[in-house]
């Protein structure tokens, strides 16, 4: 067995609300402090306390973008983790677990789902094993997995001798100990962990000391007790780069602040809520010197309003947008379903309101905290009747930030509601990244007139908010602007915004609105519409959109190493779809694959509708979990070998 350096798939699991999240943050910060890159993905139940939650974390020297199907090292904070993930450790990997749990039978794991329990029991039985954590571990050991039982209680007692430790504190300390054990196994510098602790508990000396002590004891214990030759070794590397550790909701939130979004309405819903929570907590921020020079305003702000429901969220954001402010709302599928009528109102009134839509396991309440890309077709056709909309799908956290800026530009330039498509996998992934550079996307407010400009126009008889123009775009102004009085109505209307039922005006207005989408298709640069990765001449072309990007990119490297050349067309602008460019990019490939995290291959259908092209293989996944790099590698290889069915269904994940 050969060792690797700085290439790790780590998994930590435990009960919800028991501190799983803070362990991971600690681990990630410790690794990042050593110049390593992190990618993490969280899985959790729609539950507050007690159900199983886990993080898959990858650590590497270069940026990584996806999860693996198996883990090198599993850290279990409880018995359930061992049962659920025990079989998913690499044959040469390891399991760190609390030694006191070995005798716990599966029947004593209260929260485990019936089906999973049955399935595991069946497995253990088939292997002739019993029903305890110990049996599961025995099974792993047989496959070559290293075992790292840790007597946490004893270590804690040793350390705490004489000190009183409160329950919550104890839990927090246990989390730190689990991380220390991991880093010891990985042979990583414990100093980095201590740096991380110091940063996290800024100034709280007592807590820091307590944690430090626990960490050291554990680290020492592991170093002394176990052989120091684990499959993966982590070594700090030198770098001068500044790095953030950012989550998906944060990336979007930061992009919105940068975009000048000043009003955010929302109704709580997973996995969108955290964006609004972040914005509310960071609702006041400084302005740049250059901006202060223009406006005189030292600070900016974003008003975050929790509404009574999603209908209020979008209509309130729309009302705010009508004043000339940039406003948005952020939601998930069920909330978006309620917004549909108001989206049409914004459409017919040409209001540039922005919706961030985080897709999750659906239909209906579905799998509220699980992943899916199942809302694409809905978003494209949402709302009775026909009106233009912009739909932009981000593929990774960088795109989350920059697209959050761009979507406002598109909305305002084409005066149309715009939907920023995101999903649970993006929301709950975190990554080490260089700080975003907001100056990369210039603010473009389109034909928004201020008072002076409006006064100049309207002097000759009223302001035509919906004036016919060649481009379809009319000038607009904000409610309250002197000289700019206009009317809005959900009814079909004339150039002033007054209700009409005249068939001729109706036709003109329908065409006016539709033209704006043609304009957008023409004006938006190709680089913002789609990305092409890999060899454009490859025999195999992958078409995809959204958060599958990371796994596909990571898979492409592996495939390349194995001699499989692939071109990957990532479409970001779903509406208006760059049909012709897309056609060109895939038409000559011998093999066309479409990869999507949904059941029916929604994007493949959209592409067929617009290009007439059929996919050779549809690679789909709808078990509520994001795709791993490994699944894609396998599926692509299968299809290249010519042995794959037309529809390849991926099912990895617990």
């Amino acid at each position: 067995m050969s060792q690797r350096t700085n290439s790790l798939a780590w998994l930590l699991g435990g009960a919800q609300y028991s501190g799983v999240e803070s362990s991971v943050t600690l681990f990630a910060r410790a690794c990042a402090a050593g110049g390593l890159h992190i990618y993490s993905q969280r899985e959790y139940y729609s539950n507050i306390m007690g159900e199983h939650s886990y993080f898959q974390v990858r650590v590497d020297e270069k940026p990584i973008h996806s999860i693996r199907s198996t883990a090198d090292l599993i850290v279990s904070a409880d018995a359930e983790t061992v049962f659920i993930h025990g079989r998913n450790v690499n044959p040469n990997g390891g399991i760190i677990y609390d030694s006191k749990l070995v005798d716990t039978p599966i029947s004593k794991v209260p929260m485990m789902e019936h089906q999973a329990r049955e399935e595991i029991l069946h497995y253990l039985k088939s292997k002739g094993l019993g029903e305890t954590v110990g049996d599961m571990i025995k099974d792993a050991e047989k496959r070559g997995v290293r075992l790292y039982p840790i007597p946490y209680d004893e270590l804690l007692q040793k350390m705490a001798s004489g000190q009183m430790i409160q329950l919550a504190q104890g839990r927090r300390i246990a989390n730190a100990m689990a991380v220390a054990a991991s880093l010891a196994v990985l042979n990583y510098d414990i100093k980095k962990l201590e740096e991380a602790l110091t940063e996290i508990f800024q100034g709280k000396k007592k807590i820091i000391d307590l944690n430090m002590k626990a960490v050291e004891i554990t680290y020492d214990y592991v170093r002394k007790t176990f052989k120091n030759d684990f499959l993966v070794q982590l070594v700090p590397i030198a770098t001068k780069e500044t790095r953030l550790y950012v989550g998906g909701n944060q990336a979007v939130a930061l992009g919105k602040i940068a975009a000048g979004c000043t009003v955010q309405t929302y109704y709580p819903i997973s996995p969108a809520t955290d964006e609004s929570t972040y914005l509310e907590a960071h609702g006041v921020f400084p302005h740049t010197r250059e901006a202060q020079d223009v406006s005189g305003a030292e600070k900016g702000s974003i008003l975050v309003i929790q509404t009574e429901d999603e209908i209020a969220a979008i209509t309130m954001a729309t009302g705010a947008t009508l004043t000339g402010a940039r406003a948005a709302t952020s939601t998930s599928g069920p909330g978006f379903s309620l917004m549909v009528e108001a989206l049409g109102w914004a459409g017919i009134n040409e209001v540039p309101v922005v919706v961030q839509l985080y897709q999750r396991g659906s239909p209906s309440t579905g799998l509220p905290t699980r992943h899916e890309q199942g809302d694409l077709r809905f978003v494209l056709h949402a709302g009775h009747g026909e009106f233009p909309r912009i739909v932009l799908a981000s593929g990774d956290l960088e795109e989350c930030f920059y697209d959050a800026m761009r979507i406002f530009n598109y909305a305002e330039r084409y005066q149309t509601p715009a939907i920023h498509l995101l999903d649970k996998a993006l929301a709950s992934s975190s990554q080490t990244l260089a700080p975003f550079r907001s100056e990369m996307v210039k603010i473009d407010r389109g034909a928004l007139l201020g008072e002076r400009e409006v006064m100049a126009k309207s002097s000759n008889g009223g302001f035509k908010r919906f004036e016919y123009t060649d481009s379809g775009v009319s000038e607009r102004t904000g409610l309250g602007t002197k000289g700019g009085i206009f009317w809005n109505t959900g009814d079909e209307h004339d150039e002033y915004g007054h209700i009409i039922e005249d068939p001729t005006v109706r036709v003109q207005m329908m065409e006016k609105r539709a033209k704006k989408l043609e304009l957008a298709a023409k004006e938006i640069p190709l680089s913002e519409k789609m990305n092409i990765f890999g060899d454009p001449k490859a025999e195999t072309v992958i078409l995809s959109w959204g958060s599958t990007k990371g796994a596909i990119l990571d898979a492409m490297e592996v495939l390349k190493a194995e001699g499989v050349n692939v071109c990957f067309v990532q479409v970001r602008l779903i509406q208006p779809l760059p049909s012709e460019e897309l056609r060109q990019a895939v038409i000559n490939a011998k093999r066309r694959l479409c990869i999507e995290n949904n059941f029916s291959g929604q994007f493949a259908g959209w592409v067929r509708e617009h290009t007439g092209l059929t996919m050779d293989h549809l690679i789909v996944k709808y078990n509520g979990r994001p795709m791993s790099m490994d699944e894609i590698v396998n599926a692509v290889k299968q299809s290249v070998k010519g042995k794959a069915p037309k529809r390849i269904v991926l099912t990895d994940g617990e």
């Binding site: 790095r243 550790y245 400084p286 009302g319 004043t323 409610l479 809005n488």
Partner: protein, 323 residues
């Protein structure tokens, strides 16, 4: 140059039925705005869907004819993003108490500084006279095939429970009185609610102008005995002021309830409550964002001269920095 009522009129042809109570409300709003010397562009009138929903098109001010039941959240969005606007929301009783009932309740407790005028005609006018949520149980207007199967809601009572801090009722045919109510409602800092009894001569043949006016109960001399009467400011004091004791406030509420429940023989109009003990939403915003009113969202410059974002993200990045 003082503002005139005429300044608030548009050339749009009005297609309400002759004799519709909506005309009285429209005129009252226009008169109130003019008397307050507001300029048309300083005002935004939001409406729901229904006959009453057409109101903004007849008013020369910013006019936002929204969706059925959604007038309040639209209007709140406009007001919060541009607090300098005078925001008036209008809509039907179906719009406000039925499909918009949830927003009505939740707007009350938000107490945003704006005025909501409810056109209470007991029917769904624009869809041809179905029972609205305010129509009383068992009443059968001429548009109903059978007597109303639901009890009616009392908008005053509901608005009290919801937390509106100014509550009044007017009558569409007493324009002078209604203008006064609307002016006070607009002047009130917080969410003000004005229910207007609005005859719909086309579909509601029960709560007609004659009925409100008591034409069916003339005295010996032929004088009608109107059902609608003004609450007497001496015997009924609507003010809830800072410093009042809980008992005093409870007394006020009890008075409110019994006054609001009057119906049938005597129907009070006037101001039912004016509560000055609760902060308005804008005051609450200022606790979070002290400089909010200087450059509210509508006025915010979000880019510098080179079109770069105004926001300096450095402190936010610093929080997230891991090396």
């Amino acid at each position: 140059m003082p503002v005139k009522v005429q300044d608030f009129k548009t050339a749009v042809h009005n297609n309400w039925c002759p004799g519709c109570g909506d005309f009285g409300i429209l005129n009252s709003v226009q008169m109130a705005l003019a008397e307050m010397n507001l300029e048309p562009h300083q005002v935004a009138v939001f409406s729901g869907i229904g006959c009453s929903g057409k109101t903004p098109h007849y008013i020369n001010a910013y006019g936002v004819h929204t969706l059925h039941g959604r007038v309040l959240p639209f209007a709140i969005g406009g007001k919060l993003a541009n607090p300098e606007l005078t925001v008036v929301a209008v809509g039907g009783d179906g719009d406000g108490m039925g499909i918009g009932g949830g927003h009505f309740v939740n707007a009350g407790r938000r107490n945003v500084d704006m005025t909501y005028i409810l056109h209470n005609n007991g029917v769904y006018g624009l869809t041809k006279g179905q029972a609205s949520p305010t129509l009383k149980l068992g009443v059968q207007t001429k548009s109903l095939p059978m007597p109303n199967i639901n009890e009616g809601i009392n908008p005053l009572f509901l608005s009290l429970a919801a937390g509106y801090t100014f509550i009044a009722r007017g009558y569409a045919y007493d324009i002078k009185h209604l203008v006064g109510l609307i002016k006070q409602a607009i002047n009130h800092r917080g969410a003000s609610f004005v229910e207007v009894l609005q005859p719909c001569p086309t579909y509601n043949d029960i709560n007609t102008k004659d009925w409100y006016g008591g034409e069916d109960r003339k005295d010996a001399t032929g004088r009608a005995a109107p059902r609608v009467y003004k609450v007497d400011e001496k015997s009924y004091n609507p003010d809830i002021k800072p410093g009042m004791s809980a008992e005093e406030v409870n007394g006020k509420l009890a008075n409110f309830v019994s006054k609001a429940m009057e119906w049938g023989d005597r129907i009070p109009i006037g101001i039912f409550m004016k509560n000055e003990t609760t902060s308005s939403y804008d005051e609450r915003i200022l606790e979070r964002i002290p400089f909010y009113m200087q450059v509210p969202p509508a006025k915010r410059l979000i880019a510098d001269e080179a079109n770069r974002s105004s926001a300096d993200l450095t402190p936010l990045f610093n929080e997230l920095k891991v090396r």
